[in-house]
Symmetry: none
Subunit: 199 residues, 4 copies
DNA sequence: AATGAATGAGGTTTCATTCAT
DNA sequence: CATGAATGAAACCTCATTCAT
């Protein structure tokens, strides 16, 4: 089995698997279909991945790692608490769009992970959420949002995650609008001059 | 096959199926497991349902019908726009908790429905969402929220739906708190006296 | 799965499996081949047996149970120590011939049994060998064979078991001759009037 | 492919294969396992052997050639018929112990040989058995055993072969005891002063 | 309504073998 | 001699579904 986990080839295969798992679901996607879409024989799949299950893990992990990376980059440039919250929301939407397949799979197929895989990914997820926790805490300290027991944060993240269910990048809404409206809701603004002024 | 779709027996079977589909997923739950939990043999299942797929349909339909019913009852008693919005949010949470299995299945297994089943359920869902659309429109008319192109509504509903991922009824948060915070966010309030005032 | 372990049907299937395992080996015999020879589909096999492995167990167990039964019957009628030894040898040869398939499989495929199955069959085998131990002990007590540390018994049993490698029932040798020669060797006789005087 | 069939390297590989085939069985031992134990990659195996099957042949052939060699050496020094019989039995046990892996494989995996391989090995086996035939004939001529149609020879050889099933070199029995008891049984003696005189 | 044996297509995975490097 | 990715056939087993009883 090919142990080079970051090889270009492997990343391609993971991306293809992400698309198929997203479109058809993990259980419904057969390894034969996976292989066919990858342009190899079904037996060859198992040189790259131990298991069908390991493919699922690789897909979800790749999405999470990318989310983390984008979030860190976004925060690197933003200075004020509000700007950081906005940047984080936009980064979240950004990876939700760029790596949509992987994130949809993460949501839908979480259950199909092995216990071990899940434990590893829970760590990644916790690390990501702690970034959000921190940024919102900064907003609180700045008096932008008077209190938070994590409830608003959770609702806001949920609202964002749920966008994969209905948001289409080719529709009239821009990601920036989503991010702005969400920040407004989080900070308790009525969003007077909100989205789509020209519509 | 039992054509009496609302029989007590059938409702029991649907509830059992909902639980299993929720816990294990539709694809992973075998007809034999379903039958075993129902106390019958696998062959007998097909006297009640044409298909495995029809069981899935019945599960999701039951959740949606119940959601609609609860929403209508809640609105029946609420008069002001804000009260109606609050009532609707609470009704949504209420069915999300009462019929959690069915709603989780609806979210996760939507893809596994046949085209015909899905089309029928889309109608139900549209009917339900039009209730939300209407109530928020009333709020706009009352000047509570200056504009809305559906974005806030969608974000709010998404936030609510996502609660099935993390909300636990036996935790410290009461459903009323969730509903209140959500209404605050929707209406652009800073939620000064927010959650858990008595705790 | 059909739990009626002694059903006529099951015994037929076991006999067929014994033949195939004997001819081709356990690993080499596919479940499809098994099913084809049984006149059913490969999937149907698993109504009768949980596993391919369980079929192997059933084959070997059947041979052992039959061996025990025949030995007990033979001893039931034999009175003197020597007669009992002779009866036992002949019973051994008898089951070796009647249930040749099963016994060959027992010898060759012992390794392919699961640990659990093997443990159960070891008990059966021990019970059978204790019969031999007892009968030879009677011979010693009668002064027919002066000593035995189990060595002669083991060599004799080994000689008998090995007959499945070369003995053919349609050849010139009669089972009685085998049994007689073996008893002679065990008791230290020169077998003056030995086999096939007319050949 | 390495044509030097007697190279030191090749003999090492054959010995490793013998051990694995003996422990796990031919069918169950994968080419990858073989290669891993040999410290090479699976693809490299096929530089040394054409086939997996050829490895099996090499294993069994090596055992047989060694058996023949030891037997010839033993007979070279023994003069009287009885001494020669004893020497042969001991040589047989000797190779059974020294080359146990190969001989166990010969017994168990005979079936897995290709027809061609088997034919070649049958010749070797016949050559070996003719040695036994000859030595026993000498005993008959010397009046040590009055007659033999091959039956006693076969039983005795079977008893010896079967020892691989139960004999452990680290147990209390010495190979000489086995050989002596066997000769006694063959020659029809009661083995008064038999095994373990010193124990 | 219920049973449960039987189906048969299709699932994941293994494995001996090849071949370009 | 050695590698290791790729092959592709075939292995065991599962499972929704049917049907005679």
């Amino acid at each position: 089995m090919n142990k080079n986990k970051n090889s270009k080839r492997r990343q391609e295969l993971v991306a293809i698997a992400a698309r198929l798992f997203c479109d058809q679901g993990y259980e419904t996607t057969t390894v034969r279909t996976l292989a066919a879409e990858m342009g190899i024989q079904s037996g060859s799949l198992f040189h790259h991945f131990k298991d069908k299950q390991e493919i699922l893990f690789a897909v979800i992990e790749s999405g999470m790692l990318h989310a983390m990376e984008i979030a860190r980059q976004a925060l690197y440039e933003a200075k004020t608490p509000e700007a950081r919250l906005y940047a984080l929301a936009q980064a979240h939407l950004s990876t939700l769009l760029q790596d949509r397949d992987a994130h949809v799979v993460a949501i839908y197929e979480w259950r199909s992970l092995s216990d071990l895989s899940r434990a590893h990914l829970v760590e990644l997820r916790d690390a990501y959420e702690s970034i959000w926790r921190e940024v919102i805490y900064e907003c609180q300290q700045a008096g932008l949002v008077p209190d938070d027991q994590g409830l608003r944060r959770r609702l806001a993240l949920g609202a964002l995650n749920w966008t994969v269910q209905w948001y289409r990048p080719d529709g009239p809404l821009r990601p920036e609008d989503l991010a702005q409206t969400l920040v407004d809701m989080l900070l308790g603004r009525t969003a007077v001059a909100a989205v789509l002024p020209s519509a």
